[in-house]
């Protein structure tokens, strides 16, 4: 495989060079942060009143954590560290669960972010020869515009179609011979289920790569999508508070996502105690953005659960790799006292060819006990009409799930297309326990 780099010096510099760059940038970040009343007070409580108080990377631990609620409390401009005139871009979370969280970028911040995305895209083996169909939402959501700018910087042919309208998406893939998609895994699964009705076979498309992000998904889902479309799928990680996509991205070897450590400081902590965890242990991802001046943000608790792989990568990049997101500290379900992540259930379902790609985790009360029902759809092409095979299929899924999550689920089989799907982030959990 030909390994290509966007900025080889930065991507392959040794650990000590990364760390000295991180220290310098962390000092600048603290300096910037002190320009906001909120951080000035918060840092003062930690005994930090100037960048000079930071003398080594270990001093990072003196800085307090920040959480989503801090961003909400400071809505809309409390964390802005530059004059609004310098701001060239605003992004915001949807705010469906409360006050939205906003981020601001200067022109320099935009350049930094775009460069990280170009770096990410090139790491997957893409080049200016590719035709890039960006199927993430545009607008306030960071996913669409982030990759759009990065792909343009690489020189790809960018089709800014955004999300939704499946039939048109497929037509565009054919008309422009799209080679690279940026899409959520659930939407790509949905598109595959619709190809038949558009009289299109996956082989008629020219997809070589897909960047998958914006929702957690399992390795089995990746393998399934790669097989269905005959392409390579790359895991992408980012969150709007850290600018959006481009925090971490998989290289062509697809063994975890390189976190661009010249731009972000990565920590994994125990979500209960806040203690830092060693590489390899599963914990909450905490990030410090070193390349955004309009709105400084350090030690941000992402609520995403993952672990770090510090081993050198065959691609030669020295930036440590982050595992796929295993779950979120807040999407963990507690079922009769047992912690269950939807991703564990997805992992099992995606490995069963006889069921489709749509599923629903339904939680209800059965007396005082929680009842976990996993609903899956029959995959038409493997349906044989044999009741015993259907019984065996249910039994097999139940056993596999029980082995994975240690609790006994009820498995329900449904007709193809019967379960709700979405043309964006999928809603896979229906928790009706409070209502009963």
């Amino acid at each position: 495989m030909d390994i290509t780099y966007w900025n080889k010096d930065l991507e392959t510099m040794d650990r000590s060079a990364i760390e000295s760059m991180q220290l310098k940038r962390l000092q600048a970040l603290v300096e910037k942060s002190l320009k906001t009343e909120f951080f000035k007070k918060r840092l003062a409580r930690a005994g930090i009143s100037s960048a000079e108080d930071i003398t080594s990377l270990d001093d990072l631990r003196r800085l307090p954590f920040n959480v989503k609620d801090d961003l909400r409390q400071n809505f809309p401009t409390g964390l802005l560290a530059v004059d609004m005139q310098e701001v060239v871009r605003v992004h915001s979370s949807s705010g469906t669960t409360g006050i939205p969280t906003v981020i601001y970028l200067t022109q320099q911040d935009m350049d930094n972010w775009t460069d990280l995305l170009a770096r990410s895209i090139v790491a997957t083996g893409c080049s200016s020869k590719d035709v890039f169909q960006n199927m993430m939402s545009y607008g306030l959501f960071t996913g669409g515009l982030g990759l759009h700018y990065g792909a343009e910087r690489v020189g790809m042919t960018v089709i800014p179609v955004g999300g939704g309208n499946t039939q048109r998406q497929v037509q565009i893939m054919k008309d422009f011979r799209t080679t690279v998609l940026h899409i959520t895994p659930s939407y790509l699964l949905h598109i595959h289920s619709k190809l038949d009705s558009f009289n299109t076979r996956p082989e008629e498309l020219h997809i070589e790569r897909a960047f998958l992000g914006a929702e957690p998904y399992s390795e089995n889902t990746r393998l399934k999508l790669e097989a269905l479309f005959g392409m390579h799928a790359f895991n992408s990680y980012g969150l709007s508070e850290m600018n959006g996509p481009g925090v971490a991205f998989e290289c062509m070897y697809k063994r975890g996502m390189h976190v661009w450590e010249d731009a972000y400081i990565l920590e994994i902590i125990d979500p209960e105690t806040g203690q830092q965890l060693p590489d390899g242990e599963l914990g909450e991802v905490v990030l410090t953005n070193l390349v955004r001046s309009a709105m400084p943000l350090f030690r941000y608790r992402t609520r995403d659960l993952a672990y770090v792989n510090p081993e050198p990568c065959r691609c030669g990049r020295t930036h440590r790799r982050l595992s796929r997101i295993q779950g979120r500290t807040d999407d963990m379900l507690i079922v009769n006292g047992v912690n269950v992540f939807p991703s564990q259930i997805e992992e099992v379902i995606m490995a069963v060819p006889e069921v489709g790609t749509n599923y629903l985790i339904h939680l209800t009360k059965d007396g005082s006990l929680d009842k976990l029902t996993v609903k899956v759809e029959i995959y038409s092409k493997l349906f044989t009409g044999d009741m015993r095979e259907l019984d065996a299929l249910k039994g097999m899924i139940k056993e596999k799930l029980k082995a994975s999550i240690t609790i006994n689920p009820v498995i329900e089989l449904h007709e193809p297309g019967a379960l709700p799907h979405s043309e964006g982030k999928a809603k896979r959990v229906l928790d009706e326990r409070e209502m009963l």
Binding site: S197, S380, G385, M387, L390, E412, E415, P416
Partner: protein, 145 residues
């Protein structure tokens, strides 16, 4: 052999109607059907006058539906004991019936039984049935009823 449609249906109001709607729209005639219930879902089995056409249409509408060969066995004279003679003959040969349902032929009012067997490829099966005075209807004979 006769061709039976087997359709996966969720067990909730309107699902059987979704099938009968499609059959009506396409002027397909139902000769026999049965529904096997299994909790949240069931299997609907249908014998219709144009099975291949019905299959294509149902698959096109997104149903999980297969076309399966089943044996159509016709008794010569409608009288008490016909089914008993048939099941006795099969029992003597140690043949296991997986699934069966009957209907009365619209032309000559003779009983017809559709059967699925554990080992459908057993060469002696049709001979055994014929030796006891039953007729195994071929697809053609069946669909000319």
């Amino acid at each position: 052999m006769a061709e039976q449609l087997t359709i996966f249906l969720e067990n909730r109001p309107g699902r059987m109607k979704s099938i009968s709607d499609v059959l009506l729209e396409n002027n397909l005639n139902i000769w026999a059907f049965t529904v096997q219930d299994r909790g949240e879902f069931g299997l609907m089995k249908l014998i219709v006058d144009k099975p291949k056409k019905a299959h294509l249409i149902l698959v096109d509408r997104g149903f999980a539906c297969v076309l399966k060969e089943v044996l159509a066995v016709k008794a010569e004279n409608d009288q008490p004991g016909n089914l008993d003679r048939l099941t006795t003959a099969l029992w003597e040969q140690n043949v296991n019936i997986k699934d069966a349902y009957g209907f009365v032929s619209p032309k000559d009012h003779q009983g017809i039984c559709f059967m699925e067997f554990e080992n459908p490829d057993d060469a002696n099966l049709e001979e055994t049935i014929a030796a006891h005075g039953f007729t195994v209807l071929t697809g053609k004979a069946l669909y000319e009823l």
